[in-house]
């Protein structure tokens, strides 16, 4: 059932797309993909959509700081922050950092995890032992504290989250991929290919990699959520990147300026809502996948 039997030869991209096995028959997974599409479009056209620069200090026509304006006042769609920035523009630009962090982190986690899992499961022996002990060590590192320490040492930057995820979170992906490779390897056709004189590289690329691609993608979409949540948490704790506007940064700004006490729901609800939307979109897709990949498991 997991065999990527190739009947005819479509283009490479077509094949890649097909081997992702996107769960297009699961309604929630489709919803998740739609949400992703919406945010990707927002991120691409952020400059066109946002009426202001997200860090621009705004003034009212009578030269006062345009601070704490309610939605709609003076034409600010979602109002302004306590230091006179346009909230709507920040939300729009926030999608950029979210997607930037989310996608690069997911890519790193999926890539590193898949390579480690593949190598470990395919070659076994001492390579496997070493790689899996490394994974054990990565499992022993508490993730959020690790990000905090890293963020405090390196210059504050959104890339800290990505680096930390690449250093630590490959572990989950690697373990799952490894066991999947072990299962695949035990099937006859790998041995058959080897007898037929295929090289290891060719066997991995032709027979094994296509079968684990959906799994990598699944762990990648979980990683998108993790990355965005983690960035939000460390921003809230004050270790975020002060130069780039993210939803986590907005929430931190809102709480530090007592948005709750000011009843400024328009300030702290939208960023939270965006985070929930993007992260759960990832989970919905994941779930659709699981139903396809492990119809029995369905975690």
């Amino acid at each position: 059932m997991l065999d990527a039997a190739v009947e005819r030869k479509p283009s490479l991209i077509g094949r890649l797309f097909r081997s992702l096995r996107l769960p297009l028959n699961e309604p929630f997974a489709v919803l998740g993909l739609l949400i992703y599409a919406l945010f990707v479009l927002t991120a691409i056209f952020a400059d066109q959509i946002a009426p202001y620069e997200p860090t621009e200090i705004l003034f009212t026509p009578d030269y006062n700081l345009a601070a704490d304006l309610r939605p709609g006042e003076d034409g600010y769609i979602l109002g302004t922050t306590s230091l006179g920035r346009d909230i709507f523009s920040q939300i729009v630009h926030g999608s950029r950092s979210a997607l930037l962090i989310g996608i690069t982190a997911a890519f790193m986690v999926a890539l590193i995890g898949s390579i480690v899992g593949l190598v470990s499961g395919y070659f076994r022996g001492w390579v496997d032992v070493i790689l899996m002990r490394l994974a054990d060590i990565a499992f022993g590192i508490p993730f959020l504290p690790f990000v905090i320490v890293l963020a405090a040492f390196l210059e504050p930057s959104i890339w800290n989250v990505v680096i930390a995820m690449a250093l630590v979170l490959w572990r989950d992906t690697a373990r799952v991929i490894r066991s999947q490779v072990l299962t695949l390897r035990s099937r006859g056709y790998v041995d058959a290919a080897r007898v037929a004189g295929s090289s290891d590289l060719k066997i991995i690329l032709r027979h094994i990699a296509p079968n684990i691609l959906p799994l990598s993608f699944l762990y990648g979409s979980i990683a998108i959520g993790w990355a965005i949540l983690t960035e939000a948490s460390i921003s809230f704790l004050g270790f975020g990147d002060p130069q780039s506007i993210s939803w986590g940064y907005m929430l931190q700004d809102a709480f530090a300026s007592q948005a709750l006490a000011k009843q400024a729901y328009y300030w702290f609800v939208p960023p939270g809502f965006c985070i929930i939307l993007v992260v759960s979109a990832g989970f919905f897709i994941t779930r659709g996948y699981e139903n396809i990949l492990f119809p029995k498991l369905g975690r």
């Binding site: 929630f28 002990r133 054990d136 060590i137 499992f139 022993g140 590192i141 508490p142 993730f143 959020l144 504290p145 690790f146 905090i148 320490v149 890293l150 405090a152 040492f153 959520g225 949540l229 939000a232 948490s233 809230f236 704790l237 004050g238 270790f239 986590g248 929430l251 709480f255 709750l260 006490a261 702290f268 939270g272 985070i275 929930i276 939307l277 992260v279 759960s280 990832g282 989970f283 919905f284 779930r287 029995k296 498991l297 369905g298 975690r299």
Partner: protein, 325 residues
């Protein structure tokens, strides 16, 4: 005794992991740029005073020597002295650990009791409207930033409704003879409620989804079908047979969840002014108090590693299909 052998080899692995984490921590904290004492050396100090302070913290020695001293001290349970508080790191950590553990375990117990019941219920009602609505909702709770959820709960239940206090573990100035007396007092419950609820809402998803899928698996198995054929009621089947068998793997996940929860605490403790290890770590890192940050980090890592081991062992003992090659 294959189990014993497996347990031994697992424990050896644990020691290896511990050593590796300790070393990574050491390197992380010592190889970073800048003078670690910069924030603490008063500018009015003379060069001699600065050097004396560096010597006091052992920062004037070569790196390998510092490492040996560090590991040697760790083996004796000595975590060094905090730059900021000028007191032993171990004392501070031990004072804060119970608060963190009680918050972690309370919230996880709530999450697991709810998750298991709700998971079983959803499995029983599979395919229904309830399930279709509930699963996305559960996924959404896991997508909420914990601090955001905490702040919203704080605004609603504390600021607006006034049902719960806004932070801390006890009423101002209240004295208790022991931690036990505090933890069993009624006041403590009102302080514990909101942070525990925040963490519980976040963590109920895992046991719920696990329980549900295990139940679905188990209910397909022969003995359940047999029981149905025997004419037992649906409810009896679910509770007596399916739930019991589905429960064990969920329980093993509890141990792993403890590790994850400790990380979530870092944020929630700051929201609810909870005097725990997570907040201490954040404070220590932002104040560049490396010995303290290192100690708090290590303590959290130790709990995570030990809990991973327990989960591994439990899993191995409970599920004979896992081999220990």
């Amino acid at each position: 005794m294959p189990h014993l052998k497996a347990a031994l080899s697992r424990t050896l692995q644990l020691l290896l992991v511990l050593w590796a984490v300790v070393t990574i921590l050491f390197l992380m904290f010592r190889l970073m740029p800048g003078n670690p004492m910069a924030a603490y050396i008063d500018p009015t100090f003379t060069i001699e005073q600065q050097q004396a302070l560096m010597a006091q913290f052992g920062l004037d020695k070569p790196l390998w020597e510092q490492y040996l001293i560090y590991v040697g001290n760790l083996l004796q349970g000595e975590l060094g002295q905090s730059f900021r508080y000028r007191e032993p790191v171990a004392d501070r950590i031990l004072a804060l650990l119970p608060n963190t553990l009680i918050l972690t375990f309370t919230s996880l117990i709530i999450a697991y009791v709810f998750g298991i019941l709700a998971g079983a219920y959803l499995a029983w009602k599979r395919g229904g409207v309830v399930e279709h609505a509930a699963i996305p909702l559960v996924l959404t709770t896991r997508a909420m930033p914990e601090f955001w959820l905490g702040m919203v709960l704080l605004a609603v239940f504390s600021f607006n409704l006034g049902w719960f206090p806004a932070g801390g573990t006890r009423p101002a100035g209240a004295n208790y003879d022991s931690l036990w007396a505090l933890y069993t007092s009624r006041d403590f419950l009102t302080y514990l409620a909101l942070p525990a609820l925040t963490l519980a809402i976040y963590s109920q998803g895992l046991p719920l989804l696990l329980m549900r899928s295990n139940m679905l698996d188990v209910m397909k198995e022969d003995f359940v079908t047999m029981a149905r054929i025997k004419g037992l009621s649906n409810w009896t089947v679910v509770v007596r047979h399916a739930a019991r068998n589905a429960l064990l793997p969920v329980m093993t996940s509890f141990a792993i969840a403890v590790g994850y929860q400790l990380q979530g605490n870092v944020v929630v403790e700051s929201v609810f002014s909870w005097p725990g290890l997570g907040r201490e770590l954040v404070n220590a890192v932002s104040a560049s108090d490396y010995p303290l940050a290192q100690g708090a980090f290590l303590m959290i890592a130790v709990v995570v590693i030990v809990m991973n081991l327990i989960a591994d062992l439990l899993y191995a003992f409970l599920d004979p299909r896992i081999s220990h090659a």
